[in-house]
């Protein structure tokens, strides 16, 4: 039931990436922590098989607003599509795949794929080590050419992740 509430709050937010009013943000975080209270799994990293496979991003505190958004063309020309995370437990690999589409004469669809290794650090935490990133197709590379560093810095997973399920 809390899940249903959370999902309705997230409706129309585009995953919160392009700006969320503070009050709404607070509500979402409150619902998330409410949901957490019902969680019985205390040592998620012990059984990582459970998170293997593909996951779709629903909400993030990553923000792309202001000059960043203008520079990446995410205002009118480029649309942000699905953000999928693929966990490969056999190889300790986490792959983020972000879809972009470009409106225009020939509708262009492409992906930014970021690969990273993960290693268990504690009961809840995994460390993330960035491996590589690819941008396909080449037309998409051209579009982001001037601001590639900016793009990668936004989606760079390096650091750690606290896990919960």
């Amino acid at each position: 039931e809390i899940k249903a509430q959370l999902l309705s709050e997230l409706e129309g937010l585009d995953r919160g990436i392009f700006g969320v009013p503070a009050a709404k943000k607070a509500r979402i975080l409150a619902l998330i922590s409410e949901l957490e209270k019902h969680n019985t799994q205390t040592a998620p990293t012990a059984n990582l098989e459970a998170v293997a496979g593909d996951w779709r991003l629903l909400y993030s505190t990553i923000t792309i607003t202001g000059a960043k958004r203008t520079k990446l063309g995410l205002r009118e020309f480029v649309q942000l599509g699905a953000f999928i995370q693929h966990i490969d437990t056999a190889n300790n690999l986490a792959v983020n795949r972000i879809e972009f589409s470009v409106s225009g004469f020939s509708s262009l669809r492409g992906f930014l794929t970021i690969r990273a290794n993960y290693n268990v650090v504690s009961e809840r935490r995994v460390g993330i080590t960035y491996l590589d990133s690819t941008l396909v197709p080449t037309q998409l590379q051209k579009i982001f050419e001037a601001n590639l560093d900016l793009l990668l810095s936004i989606f760079n997973p390096e650091g750690y992740l606290d896990l919960t399920y």
């Binding site: 392009f18 700006g19 969320v20 009013p21 009050a23 607003t65 202001g66 000059a67 958004r69 203008t70």
Partner: protein, 389 residues
């Protein structure tokens, strides 16, 4: 450099003349206030001219009459131009005929051709011409056509319904007609321009059409960019607004056969007048009420277009930087931002900037002989500024 000795006129050039090609390369189109005009010239009036000037100066002009005073010397020129323009557009196609009334009918003040005529008269007076040439007249028409073409297209892009108190072409006849009408105006003005048969003028005016596009593109590329500098803002304002006025002023001097210092001075007048005009416009977006503007207050800021008041305010307010970067996502953040711009004196500094540009425009008039045209050019600067207070 030959300074023409004509009946009743004498002119004095302060600096010795440099070869023509050198004068063009030292001349900078981009606005940087630190770099002064390379050459200046001051007009030495004859006794009768001095007396006329003193008489004219003694007349105080009340604000309500200011525009009429400015237009007086060129009234018949403008009437003739309006008629010519209707004919140019009207003959082609019924679709354009209907649009012609929209475009060239009464409503706009048509200040740009007014300025062209005034510069034409004043520079012609200086060179001893008794009346304007056909090329002067064509130049004024071309200037208004190019300006109108850009407005017609802008209304499509901004999805505007009302312009100059009337319905826009796109709202009455649709986008297709509006785009074609704008294209027609650009194309026709290019054709007229070519037929003026003057390479300097062709280059000057063609550059403007490129500048319009560059101005719009650079504005779109810097939305919400809080790092924008004043120089970038002035460049963008030049491309969007001042470029056409500067080029047409210089072209008017070309057709009067003016010497290069006068041509440069007229370019400078047009450029600084145009920049003052744009800064004033940008200030009004912050200061005028919604009713006066005909649209919500602070729209520039809301859409991420950071203009002079905002740029000055950003230097002093980190809170404003955050609000703008977040694109006003919070309730009431736009109002808070407008407040911050006021509190930090951003609007005052912008007014000062407009005043500085106006003063540079006035300084450029020094080489012109006194008379009704020069007076109107001077009053024009006042007119542009008076809206700001």
């Amino acid at each position: 450099m030959s300074t023409p000795e004509t009946v009743g006129c004498s002119s004095r050039v302060l600096q010795t003349c440099l070869p023509r090609h050198r004068s063009i390369t030292t001349f900078s189109r981009r606005n940087s206030d630190a770099r002064p005009v390379v050459r200046t010239c001051v007009y030495t009036p004859t006794r009768s001219e001095e007396q006329t000037a003193l008489k004219l100066e003694a007349q105080v002009v009340p604000p309500a009459n200011l525009l009429n005073e400015i237009l007086a010397p060129v009234k018949s020129d403008m009437e003739q131009m309006n008629q010519n323009l209707k004919n140019v557009v009207g003959n082609r196609h019924p679709m354009l005929m209907a649009a012609a009334e929209q475009i060239f009918g009464a409503g706009g003040k048509k200040l740009r051709p007014v300025i062209v005529f005034l510069v034409a008269h004043s520079t012609a007076q200086r060179e001893g011409l008794t009346e304007l040439t056909d090329k002067h007249r064509r130049l004024a028409e071309i200037t208004e056509m190019i300006h109108t073409a850009s407005l017609v297209h802008d209304d499509v892009l901004d999805e505007c319904d009302i312009r100059r108190g009337k319905k826009t072409i796109n709202s009455m006849y649709g986008t297709r007609v509006a785009v074609l009408a704008g294209d027609f105006l650009f194309a026709q003005s290019s054709w007229f321009l070519a037929n003026l048969d003057n390479l300097e003028v062709i280059k000057l005016i063609s550059q403007v059409i490129a500048d319009f596009a560059n101005g719009e593109i650079s504005q779109a590329a810097s939305l919400f960019d809080t790092d924008i500098t004043l120089e970038q803002y002035l460049d963008k304002s030049f491309y969007k607004t001042a470029s056409l006025i500067a080029a047409s002023c210089r072209s008017a001097a070309v057709f009067s056969d003016s010497p290069v210092e006068v041509k440069e001075a007229m370019y400078s007048y047009g450029k600084h007048l145009g920049l003052a005009f744009q800064v004033v416009d940008d200030v009004l977006d912050f200061t005028q009420s919604t009713e006066q503007l005909g649209k919500p207050q602070g729209q520039d800021l809301a859409s991420g277009n950071l203009t002079a008041p905002a740029i000055f305010a950003l230097r002093k307010s980190p809170e404003l930087l955050d609000i703008i970067s977040s694109e006003f996502v919070e309730e009431g953040s736009l109002e808070r931002a407008l407040e911050l711009v006021r509190e930090t004196g951003g609007i005052e500094e912008a007014r000062l900037l407009a005043r500085q540009q106006a003063d540079m425009a006035l300084a450029a008039l020094e080489c012109l002989p006194e008379g009704p045209s020069r007076r109107s050019l001077r009053l024009m600067v006042d007119y542009v500024l008076e809206r700001i207070y």
